[in-house]
């Protein structure tokens, strides 16, 4: 299964959603991931012998913090109501919001953040006034927006909205560009389920995550439906 994980970061640089899919994935920072059965954060994660988490202890203590807002729901295994067999398979091996504050998440964000800055500074147009310069250097200019980066073992796709929401999906390195998919997720899943939902915040405090069932299900179904068409 070529989709490894899906992350959403907000404008405050916090990870407000992380979805790991139970596949042979590797930590994007290059370390191989292993979740020990003892670490609380990945209690429901099917242990995979090819993983090895070098920082499993901090992980577990930080992941449990997430549950205080989402009252443990974020870490429970999803039993999908979807009839889609592939979706079931995908979902049963994964975790929801168990990785939000761990090193993986921070490293991933840091990498993307730096790449974005580099891309932007390589290609800024001439500006005439001080104000234009301010507008240009503001993080949201899209003169040279980062789209993805690829290593030997994975490809990381990135989409940033103008209001600072960052959508990230980590896949098999041979996957095609998933920019349009990330945009699609923003428009047809995030917007109806979170923005138009008066019971869901759009401004997240430090430990708050998106733990809404409907949202997670929609995301899972979306990625499951894309599985075959990824390369």
């Amino acid at each position: 299964m070529p989709i490894y994980s899906f992350w959403i970061y907000d404008r405050h640089c916090n990870c407000i959603f992380s979805r790991e899919y139970g596949t042979g994935s590797q930590d994007p920072s290059g370390n191989v991931l292993k979740s020990t059965p003892k670490s609380k954060g990945s209690a429901q994660f099917a242990p995979n012998p090819s993983y090895e988490n070098t920082s499993s202890l901090p992980t577990s203590s930080q992941s449990t913090q997430n549950s205080s807002i989402s009252s443990g729901r974020g870490q429970r295994l999803l039993s999908s109501a979807s009839n889609n067999h592939k979706a079931q398979e995908l979902i049963q091996k994964g975790t929801v919001n168990a990785q939000n504050n761990n090193n993986t998440s921070k490293l991933l964000f840091g990498t993307l953040f730096s790449l974005r800055k580099i891309a932007g500074s390589v290609c800024t147009p001439q500006t005439e006034t001080h104000q234009e310069e301010e507008f240009n250097t503001s993080n949201l200019n899209s003169f040279n927006a980062l789209q993805s980066f690829r290593t030997l073992n994975y490809k990381c796709h990135y989409y940033e909205t103008m209001n600072g929401l960052r959508f990230v999906v980590v896949t098999h390195p041979a996957a095609r560009s998933l920019q349009s998919s990330l945009i699609e997720i923003y428009h047809s899943i995030y917007l109806p389920t979170v923005v138009r939902n008066p019971l869901m915040p759009v401004n997240y405090r430090e430990d708050e995550v998106i733990s809404n069932d409907r949202f997670v299900r929609a995301i899972d179904e979306y990625w499951a439906s894309l599985e075959e068409t990824l390369t």
């Binding site: 729901r73 109806p192 008066p198 019971l199 869901m200 915040p201 401004n203 069932d213």
Partner: protein
């Protein structure tokens, strides 16, 4: 002038956000009125110094105990009532002048049909799905896909969603009550989610037959 009346439009999204925000506003107002501070001093901080946690984009109001309190429900219902009371004339005018349909609203049943068809179409872009009556003053209006509730869901699960949805159901209740009142019919309106299957909602209207 008559041609211009009722021909202007706005985005349905704008109205939907406005209506949803009413509920949050209602909780804020309740908080302010419950505290004994002098009104003048509160206006100072526009971002709301009194409700420090209530930053824009958060949903703290939903965990506020007053959210499901009677005062709040009553207040939101009142918003709906005022709207319903005033909108009836407009809708009737629109139908008779612009569409040339002569509405006879002599019987309560006719009024209920008017609500199911015309009012609902205007507000929620679709008609009510079902209207039942016991012919002695009680009506049940069923909307299987109630527009305002399509996207509402709580992070704590379905049961919690149904609990938290109560204030949002009060506004259409008030709307119906207001329309009936402006046509001289007094009624009690309650809303329920049908068999816990959001977004299907039924409105139970008990009219009093006294003339």
């Amino acid at each position: 002038m008559p041609e211009e009346f009722f021909s202007k439009e706005v985005s349905a999204m704008a109205l939907e956000y406005l209506v949803n925000e009413c509920v949050a506003l209602s909780v804020r107002v309740e908080e302010l009125l419950a505290s004994d501070s002098v009104p003048g001093t509160l206006a100072g901080d526009v971002a709301g110094l009194k409700l420090e946690q209530d930053k824009p984009g958060t949903v703290d109001f939903a965990s506020n105990p007053k959210f499901l309190g009677l005062n709040n429900l009553y207040r939101v219902e009142r918003y709906g009532y005022e709207i319903g009371y005033k909108i009836t004339d407009c809708i009737i005018y629109k139908k008779s002048v612009q569409e040339g349909v002569n509405i006879q609203l002599l019987e309560v049943l006719e009024v209920m049909k008017f609500i199911c068809r015309d009012v609902w179409r205007m507000f929620y872009l679709k008609q009510m799905d079902n209207l039942r009556t016991n012919h002695i003053g009680t009506f049940v209006l069923v909307d299987n896909n109630f527009r305002p509730l399509i996207n509402v869901s709580s992070a704590q699960g379905d049961a919690d969603t149904i609990r938290k949805i109560q204030p949002y159901l009060q506004l259409p209740c008030g709307l119906i009550r207001g329309i009936l009142a402006s046509l001289g019919i007094s009624a009690v309106v309650k809303a329920d989610v049908i068999e816990n299957r959001l977004p299907a909602v039924s409105f139970n209207v008990q009219t009093s037959l006294a003339k």
